[in-house]
């Protein structure tokens, strides 16, 4: 029984944790490159240098003395996000959607509450002292553009921030999913906390079925909308940006997280040196076969755009018959 399941999974190319750690992360992701993805300021700087689309950086506050400079950073901004550079799990993020109508130094949060400038400065001071950093070391506060979410996922997410994750193997996108917040996940796009992960057909950029707590689901648990069949806009650009993540970080096994802005299109939010394996469940497919296919056709000279096209050609999801040309046109 056990061995039958193991053989079946092996046949379908399902990657396990041990294999991911030894054969991919340890082999392809040198530890000295980790800061490039762990420090969000560094990630952003590198991404901008490479000409990638990221939420615009308004300012970085890296010491208590600089906290007073906060009003100057946001002087011309109506909305922005404050977050710790080395935070995790969405802790310590402040989303400011606008200014108070009556007072210029008071702000409106995404939840509708009003917060004063002094309160935000106190929050930044806490971030800088390392309160949201898991290692407890002094951190940096990032103030950046507040993403205006594209309504494409409005039907299949409950509040929060849906994002697109693409696994990139040696520069080639191999698998993708969309993470849809639910009421249970408290608006966070975190599969561990109960968000729905929906597989994406790499070749067409259309969502497949979803997975919730390792179980297959076809409808969003809160909105009831069908998860499959959502066409992700600018799919070519998303794949190409993800592929470029390899040049930026040097990590051979990489997870690239992107959000889609209403006006600016797909933006890179962060990158991950040890992306999880749930993406295989969301896609109902193993990742190992796709990786070995990449090994066969690997071309060190290929540009990110070429690699994205290779991925679209090589990995059509079973049962989705969207020709590449039509998807590209849409």
């Amino acid at each position: 029984m056990m061995f039958r399941i193991a053989r079946r999974l092996r046949e379908r190319g399902v990657l396990g944790l041990n294999e991911r750690n030894t054969d991919f992360i340890m082999r392809l992701n040198p530890r000295k490159l980790y800061p490039r993805v762990d420090d969000k300021v560094l990630t952003k700087t590198l991404a901008i240098e490479a000409g990638m689309a990221v939420p615009e950086l308004y300012g970085v506050i890296d010491n208590q003395g600089a906290v007073r400079g906060f009003p100057k950073i946001v002087a011309d901004r109506e909305s922005f996000v404050v977050k710790p550079a080395e935070g995790s799990g969405g802790e310590g993020i402040l989303v400011v959607t606008g200014r108070s109508l009556r007072k210029r130094d008071a702000f409106r949060l995404a939840s509708g509450l009003i917060i004063t400038e002094a309160e935000i400065e106190h929050h930044i001071s806490n971030i800088v002292s390392g309160q949201y950093s898991l290692s407890g070391t002094p951190d940096k506060a990032i103030i950046e553009y507040c993403v205006q979410f594209d309504p494409v996922f409005a039907d299949v997410s409950y509040q929060g921030v849906p994002d697109v994750r693409v696994i990139v193997y040696r520069g080639y996108p191999v698998m993708a999913m969309v993470r849809l917040p639910t009421r249970a996940s408290d608006g966070k796009a975190n599969l561990h906390q109960g968000a729905v992960g929906a597989g994406v057909d790499i070749s067409s950029g259309t969502t497949l079925q979803g997975v919730l707590d390792d179980e297959i689901v076809t409808e969003h648990p809160d909105t009831g909308a069908l998860i499959a069949g959502v066409r992700i806009p600018q799919w070519d650009f998303i794949l190409e940006s993800a592929a470029r993540g390899f040049e930026v970080t040097g990590l051979g096994y990489l997870g690239v997280d992107m959000v889609i802005d209403r006006n600016l299109g797909p933006l890179i939010l962060e990158m991950n040196a040890r992306p999880g394996l749930n993406i295989q469940l969301a896609n109902q497919a193993g990742i190992a076969h796709r990786i070995s296919r990449i090994e066969e056709i690997y071309d060190p000279a290929a540009t990110p755009a070429e690699r994205a096209q290779v991925a679209r050609r090589e990995f059509p999801a079973a049962g989705v018959s969207t020709p590449v040309s039509e998807a590209a046109a849409g």
């Binding site: 407890g136 975190n190 561990h192 390792d214």
Partner: protein
């Protein structure tokens, strides 16, 4: 390349570990099971005599070459005698000497031996004996016997057997009867056999010894016959002519010199008592290693002071726990907090026993976690937060001890043995996971840690395994090899089969 390197290294380590293990086990006799005991025999000879007016000299033959046995220790007890060891033709001779003594004297010599089938030390090749001078009519009888026996035998061994058969024949021929009638005791008869063998130019001597069986208060010497066939010494049962030495026969002395000679004393008596004891096999192995000048024992943990040994007996359990943890985490796929936290918890379980260990651990973590959630609201920095959790954990341990003492449950006192820092870190990591990944994952990992701790405790508590590792620490190299190989295991974890089961069916 990398894979082959790991396999090679693991193979090398395992081979090295097993080789040392096999040498210590097979060659030096280190016991593989606990409380293994080996019988040892103590033979005590007690010499008594009345002292004469002058100086006294006592000579006693003592064991030298003992096939089938090895000496563990020997000592002598006497009052004011000088002691020296000499070598005579029949082996070692112990000598006690004193210038003047009054009244009845008693001297003890004690030797402790253990059975060792490998011990087949044989004496040097003797010269051919000169033809003995025998007076008539015995001379003719001996010549006739030798001639007849030679006719019925092929070599030294069959000659001896045939001769002994004739000497023991209940209806002997007249020549034999003539010789037998001249001997008073059986020992004398065997001596006359050596004389006959000597006239056939065969080196032979009488062997005296004891059978090591049970307790004997007045042990009697058992006479045996030793014959050299030009190549090696062979033993013959002088009663039957059969070749061989009984397994439990301890050779005391050889030849026909008297066992005991006392100069300057009278009313000499000597008695032998044999006592069978059981001694820890470790002690025997130690003695054997010393005799062979083997270095193995110098580096054995048994050579350390007892208190240090006690420390290591615990420390050496940790690799077992680590191995259990590697298997459970990387092969089974159980989630846990901290790399070695479960092993340290398992060490604490050794003191609290399993049931109370699990109860106290769960209680401590649950209480600590609820207080940690209260602290969460205060938004403390990392180090002060951890310190606060640590102080809370100590307070909780204190109150659990006090409450359980009040209730008369003394087991609750052992909560003090839990590693408080480890518990604090567990609580901290559990609460972080609770926030990041949700309550279900955090609780699952908490129970995972507990399950690993219980499994590690069970394996670390296995007496035979403890003994094996303590006696053969080189087996840790084998552990290392296994862990190296598991470090390169890229197959599925058992629980992943469940996690990905949706992918296994169409």
């Amino acid at each position: 390349m990398n894979q082959r390197y790991v396999w090679g290294l693991a193979g090398l380590l395992a081979a090295l570990g097993f080789t040392i293990f096999a040498y210590k086990w097979q060659a030096l006799g280190f016991p593989v099971t606990r409380n293994q005991e080996v019988p040892v025999y103590t033979v005590e000879s007690s010499i008594g005599f009345d002292s004469g007016p002058g100086s006294i000299k006592v000579n006693l033959h003592i064991p030298t070459l003992t096939p089938g046995f090895r000496m563990l220790s020997e000592n002598s007890v006497s009052r004011g005698y000088g002691f020296s060891l000499n070598y005579g033709t029949g082996g070692r001779v112990a000598q006690w000497a004193i210038r003047r003594a009054d009244g009845p004297q008693r001297i003890y010599y004690r030797i402790t031996v253990y059975a060792d089938p490998d011990s087949d030390e044989s004496d040097t090749t003797p010269p051919f004996p000169p033809p003995p001078v025998i007076i008539e009519p015995f001379r003719t009888a001996v010549d006739v016997i030798v001639a007849e026996v030679r006719e019925h035998s092929a070599d030294t061994a069959s000659f001896t057997s045939e001769l002994l058969r004739r000497m023991n024949d209940p209806t002997p021929d007249p020549n034999v009867e003539l010789l037998v009638s001249e001997t008073g005791s059986f020992a004398e008869l065997v001596e006359s056999v050596t004389t006959i063998l000597a006239s056939a130019r065969i080196p032979a001597r009488v062997v005296n010894g004891f059978r090591m069986e049970g307790q004997q208060r007045d042990a009697e010497f058992l006479v045996w016959l030793e014959v050299h066939d030009g190549d090696r010494w062979r033993y013959f049962n002088p009663r039957t002519g059969e070749e061989g030495l009984p397994d439990d026969y301890l050779v005391w002395w050889r030849g026909n010199e008297p066992l005991l000679a006392v100069e300057g004393g009278s009313n000499v008596d000597i008695g032998f008592a044999i006592q069978e004891n059981h001694l820890d096999a470790i002690a025997i192995a130690e003695a054997r290693a010393t005799q062979r000048d083997a270095r193995a024992f110098d580096f054995s943990l048994y050579s350390l002071p007892i208190t240090t040994q006690a420390v290591y007996s615990v420390l050496l359990m940790i690799p077992i726990g680590a191995l259990v943890m590697v298997v459970l985490r990387n092969l089974i796929g159980i989630d846990a907090f901290g790399t070695f936290m479960p092993v340290l918890i398992a060490l604490a379980f050794r003191e609290t026993r399993l049931f109370w260990g699990v109860v106290l651990f769960t209680l401590l973590v649950a209480l600590g976690l609820s207080i940690r959630f209260l602290l969460e609201r205060l938004r403390l920095l990392l180090v002060p937060r951890l310190s606060a959790v640590l102080i809370v954990v100590v307070l909780l341990m204190l109150s659990i001890s006090l409450v359980s003492h009040r209730l008369g449950m003394e087991t609750g006192l052992s909560v003090a043995l839990f590693p408080m820092v480890i518990i604090s870190m567990t609580i901290e990591r559990m609460s972080v996971m609770w926030e990041e990944k949700g309550a279900i994952d955090a609780i699952r990992a908490g129970f995972g840690s507990l399950a690993i701790a219980v499994a590690a405790y069970i394996f670390m508590g296995m007496g035979w395994l403890q003994h094996l590792i303590f006696t053969f620490p080189e087996l840790l190299l084998v552990f290392l090899a296994i862990v190296l190989l598991l470090g390169r295991y890229t197959g599925y974890r058992l629980l992943e089969l469940r996690r990905f089961r949706a992918l296994a069916n169409e």
